[in-house]
Symmetry: C2
Subunit: 155 residues, 2 copies
């Protein structure tokens, strides 16, 4: 598949563009894989893994701890580094890494994440970075998975 | 870490021992990663991913479909091939691949999987294969994850 082949595979690691992907991975599912496949085709992938505290703010205690989630996502092909993202805002990590790309699902254009998205665009623009949005994979958010389990429990 | 370094990294792929790991990955979690890290240190990893029908027999409809689960586990470093395992018994796939190793958690020595385990040992023994058992990672079976979600729902 073309999307599996990095355009930069021949470029030494340190010279490849940095690609930042913020995620919860609670649990990791095929929607995350779609993002990571796109990200690794663009360059060297830093996953900003939301901390337990950051997740708690908007969807309650995670099922899996940061350490448990980190163990999994670090083993996905093409993930170069996993760092904690301590806030819903990407600001601190984007200023620290100044990535050439941020990759995210296209589901955050409206709703609670709209302001977060705009902040990402504004920051990236200041160093000519680009936001790459990938079509959202339906039905596999951790919220949707919880709902699938809930319907099992309740029937 | 030693367990990340294959003893066979210098051996051409086709000559490396085959390692078979049967799993559900519904969802994939850090316990699976522990098994796969051990497995890839032993050779070329074939994941036997239980089909939706095989899972339904002993724990009900999976949360994630075979295709969804396959997408994820195929992207773990060191996984060479993912094949369907259509029964709880490993028999058909073991006879097809005749792996040098099977890797499993050490949680199946007693209980419903005891007979499955003995069949694996008997088959492996017939071609000098070895069962490698990895200490079970507590609290992350899909059953335990469902219980964590259930306690969220009920409180």
């Amino acid at each position: 598949m073309d999307s599996n082949v990095s355009e930069f595979a021949h470029v030494p690691s340190r010279e490849r563009p940095l690609v930042y992907v913020g995620m919860c991975c609670d649990p990791l599912h095929h929607g995350h894989i779609a993002l990571l496949v796109r990200a690794r085709a663009l360059g060297r992938v830093i996953v900003g893994l939301l901390t337990d505290e950051a997740i708690a703010i908007y969807k309650g205690t995670p099922l899996l701890s940061y350490a448990e989630r980190q163990t999994v996502v670090a083993e996905i092909r093409g993930v170069d580094t996993v760092v904690p993202q301590r806030t819903l805002s990407y600001r601190d990590n984007l200023l620290a890494f100044r990535p050439s790309f941020v990759v995210h699902g296209d589901d955050w254009r409206k709703g609670v994440q709209e302001a977060t998205r705009q902040e990402v665009i504004d920051l990236l623009t200041s160093w000519n970075g680009t936001l790459v949005e990938v079509p959202y994979t339906q039905g596999c958010s951790s919220r949707a998975l919880r709902a699938r389990i809930r319907s099992d429990v309740e029937r």
